[in-house]
């Protein structure tokens, strides 16, 4: 167990350091998310009252696109110079690599979301009518739901041709209940018409189920050729 966390931490620190040095993904992703928000603003220009009903969907679809682009870069670094092989020949637990990557992606996508959310609020003149604090568990659980499966399927798509396009093809169908939970939950809070409790429980269940599944099966995926 100790080895697991030691390697997880080492890998996470290594990834953050590498990202900080090159800033490849970070810069391009920040700009990409800004563009996504602007495009959405031009495409949908609703009244304040309507916007509460549709912004939940808009925000999460924007996050989803940003997350997929970010997730696709997760393993790119490990493929350069075939560094992944160095991990595969080592005795380090496979799940440590998975957890580190998933946590790294979680931080990364959260940063993007934190940047995009205020833009959405400004452009759409949003005012929350429901209990706003409940947006936090929805955001955290929803982001983890996207990221945990996204990291897994990104690793799976390493073993396919045209892997960039494979990730959304694998991720989106599985993510549908999570997306429904995030969107409906956010809308419920924004409009203040319904309770979002069920959606929080749904997202929590989704996260627990798929985190377990990912941790159970990741070893096989990593050691597949």
């Amino acid at each position: 167990m100790n080895a697991l966390w030691a390697v997880t931490l080492a890998t996470l620190v290594k990834d953050i350091r590498l990202e900080w040095r090159s800033k490849d993904a970070l810069n391009s992703m920040l700009f990409f998310s800004l563009l996504v928000v602007v495009i959405f603003v031009f495409s949908f220009d609703p009244l304040a009252e309507e916007s509460r009903h549709i912004v939940g969907g808009l925000v999460w679809v924007a996050f989803l696109f940003a997350a997929v682009v970010a997730l696709n870069q997760t393993w790119a670094r490990e493929l350069r110079n075939q560094v992944l092989d160095a991990y595969r020949v080592s005795p380090a637990p496979a799940n440590a690599l998975f957890l580190a990557k998933a946590l790294g992606n979680f931080i990364f996508v959260s940063v993007l979301e934190a940047l995009m959310t205020p833009l959405f609020v400004i452009f759409y003149n949003l005012r929350v009518l429901g209990p706003a604090w409940q947006l936090i568990p929805i955001a955290v659980l929803g982001t983890w739901a996207l990221v945990v499966n996204g990291t897994f399927f990104a690793a799976m798509s390493l073993r396919t041709r045209s892997r960039e396009i494979m990730l959304p093809l694998l991720l989106f169908p599985i993510s549908i209940p999570a997306v429904l939970g995030m969107v409906a939950g956010t809308t419920a809070i924004l409009t203040g018409e319904d309770s979002a409790h069920f959606y929080i429980v749904l997202l929590l269940t989704y996260d627990v189920v798929f985190t377990t599944a990912c941790l159970t099966l990741f070893g096989m995926i990593l050691h597949a050729e």
């Binding site: 799976m156 396919t160 041709r161 694998l170 169908p173 597949a224």
Partner: protein, 301 residues
């Protein structure tokens, strides 16, 4: 086995023809929906067949995943037994029964739960390790075809009856669509994989898909309670003649699906045999090529 195939083909053809006749002529016309309702005799059996095939795919995938490790295999065996036993008993507890939606009979749920261990052991017994993956490909492909029929006939029926092609809030249509999406992505993965362990990746995805289905069902079920959706024409009592026609159609479709699966299974086996023979050829060199190319020789005979 070889002789059984043409016999079964003839039986299936007769069954399908009679089922069509029964659906169009024998079954009474539904009072409010009219003749449009007859599409149900194709829609519902296709759905049942597709779900059954996806269920077999899931079981085969699980079996394939655990077959690589003896300890996992033993653990899976006991887990499946436990699920069967606990699930069946739980269905008859009053507290659990309260959770069932109205109109769902505990005995029906218990039978469904019991099918899990039965299918698990049956498939494990009938199909050795390398054939499990062949079974998984077969059921996924044929399942997607039947699922497509469901998704096409559903809106065809909905348009005149509901006035709309599709209702997002409808539990059955939407979860079927998600299931279809999952299995299409499963087939895409198989097609695009360049791994030596495609079977394993596909099996892992099938497990993810199976875990997803209850969550899809749950989320749409709750979503629907908040969003009004059209009421489905069912609910009332079914004319006994309608029930009989549905049963005949179900039988015909099951036979047809079985036949298609059988052919596809054999085709896939032959395909792998050819691949193997080619590999053996490259292993052995040109000198013994004739000996290695078994399936080709067989087909020319």
């Amino acid at each position: 086995m070889k002789r059984l195939f043409p016999i079964l083909s003839v039986i299936t053809a007769i069954l399908l023809a009679y089922a069509l006749y029964a659906a169009l002529v024998v079954a009474p016309t539904e009072r409010t929906m009219g003749d449009v309702q007859r599409i149900f005799y194709y829609h519902v059996p296709s759905a049942w067949t597709a779900f059954l095939l996806f269920f077999i795919n899931f079981i085969a995938s699980i079996q394939y995943l655990v077959s690589r490790k003896a300890s996992a295999k033993t653990a899976a065996k006991w887990i499946v037994l436990a699920i069967g036993a606990v699930g069946t008993i739980a269905c008859f507890l009053p507290r659990v029964q309260q959770l069932f939606p109205a109109g769902m009979r505990p005995s029906a749920v218990a039978t469904t739960v019991l099918l899990i261990p039965i299918f698990y052991f049956l498939i494990g017994w009938l199909f050795p390790e390398e054939k499990l993956d062949v079974l998984a490909v077969t059921t996924a492909e044929v399942g997607v075809v039947f699922c497509t029929i469901v998704l096409v006939t559903g809106p065809l029926w909905a348009r005149p009856v509901w006035g709309i092609w599709w209702a997002v809030g409808d539990l059955r249509l939407t979860s079927t669509l998600v299931l279809w999406l999952i299995y299409v992505s499963y087939l895409v993965l198989r097609g695009f994989s360049n791994s030596a362990q495609t079977q394993m990746l596909a099996a892992a995805l099938a497990v993810f898909g199976a875990l997803d289905v209850p969550l899809v069902f749950l989320s749409i079920w709750f979503f629907r309670t908040q969003h009004p959706s059209p009421v489905i024409g069912g609910g009332g009592s079914l004319d006994p003649r309608m029930g009989q026609v549905l049963l005949i159609n179900w039988l015909a479709f099951s036979c047809f699906a079985f036949l298609v699966c059988w052919s596809r299974f054999r085709l896939e086996l032959l395909h792998r045999e050819v691949e193997e023979a080619h590999a053996m050829e490259s292993l052995a060199g040109a000198g013994v090529a004739a000996k290695a190319s078994l399936p080709l020789g067989r087909s020319s005979r």
